[in-house]
């Protein structure tokens, strides 16, 4: 009885790295699916706010109520499993699919937060999306597999 328990423990310890990686994979997948669900729901809810990248839009003067700048920030990180995948992909070259989904999530989340900050505004003009690297030193950061996205624009509130 005791020896079998020991064997099981030894088996787990031998493959600890592998199990850890699988655990990270599981966490990452669950997190991503949950995140996408929330993104889709909020995108539908906030679809009334239109966005444009144009610098100048001629609004009728008597209709403009409020003008202010809005920002949305997000910092996402790839889980341990994806980092290993990306490392091997880096050896052979080619598209890193595991990071593409993360970039997509980060951009959409940043735009959504910008819209959420806009609140009652009817339009966001002059939208810009940036990926600064503030929280990390470039080299370590790449190894981390993290991404920061900032979306900002000018929210204009119009009277009906």
């Amino acid at each position: 009885m005791e020896s079998s328990a020991l064997e099981v423990t030894a088996f787990f310890l031998d493959y600890a790295n592998l199990f850890l990686l699988l655990f990270f994979l599981l966490c990452g997948q669950i997190g991503e699916r949950r995140h996408y669900r929330s993104i889709l729901a909020r995108e539908k809810a906030l679809s009334r706010i239109s966005t444009t990248t144009l610098k100048n839009v001629n609004f009728p003067a008597e209709k403009v109520v409020d003008v202010r700048m809005v920002c949305g920030h997000v910092v996402l990180c790839a889980d341990g499993f994806r980092r290993v995948l990306a490392f091997f992909r880096g050896l052979f070259g080619g598209p890193v699919r595991s990071f593409e989904a993360m970039l997509d999530r980060a951009r959409r989340e940043a735009l959504l937060r910008m819209k959420e900050e806009a609140g009652e505004a009817s339009m966001i003009v002059s939208v810009r999306v940036e990926t600064p690297s503030v929280t990390g030193i470039d080299n370590t950061y790449r190894w981390w597999g993290g991404i920061e996205v900032v979306a900002y624009g000018t929210a204009v509130t119009l009277k009906d």
Binding site: A61, V67, P132, T135, G136, V150
Partner: protein
């Protein structure tokens, strides 16, 4: 104070330019936060500590820029741009710059002279 990254304030007329205004913030990271975020990063997902840091730093840079514009007597900052740089190992800078202008509602009429 109107702060916008458009080239003009909607429904307003620019009556005076006050030149360029800038605001910058340097914020260092906390080593304990770093370690915590590193561990959290292994599981993937959002790093809320860093998101908040980014938001705080940007808000402060814009605030400083707006303050400078206020001192010049402007009531709007247009064409705002951001620049980021990592100065040293632990610190990061966000730099906000724009043009301070004085704007007036268009209701005053196009032909009217400013000041009288």
């Amino acid at each position: 104070m109107f702060v916008t990254n458009m080239e003009s304030v909607p429904a307003m007329k620019i009556v005076k330019h006050h030149g360029m205004v800038t605001g910058s913030t340097v914020r260092a990271r906390n080593i304990f936060v770093d370690i915590g975020q590193w561990i959290k990063g292994l599981f993937g997902g959002e790093l809320k500590g860093y998101s908040r840091l980014l938001a705080d730093v940007r808000a402060q840079a814009v605030e400083r820029m707006a303050m400078q514009a206020g001192e010049l007597g402007a009531n709007a900052v247009i064409n705002v741009r951001f620049a980021t740089s990592t100065i040293s190992l632990g610190a990061a800078e966000i730099y906000a710059y724009g043009t301070a202008v004085e704007v007036r509602s268009e209701e005053y009429g196009a032909g009217e002279e400013y000041g009288e």
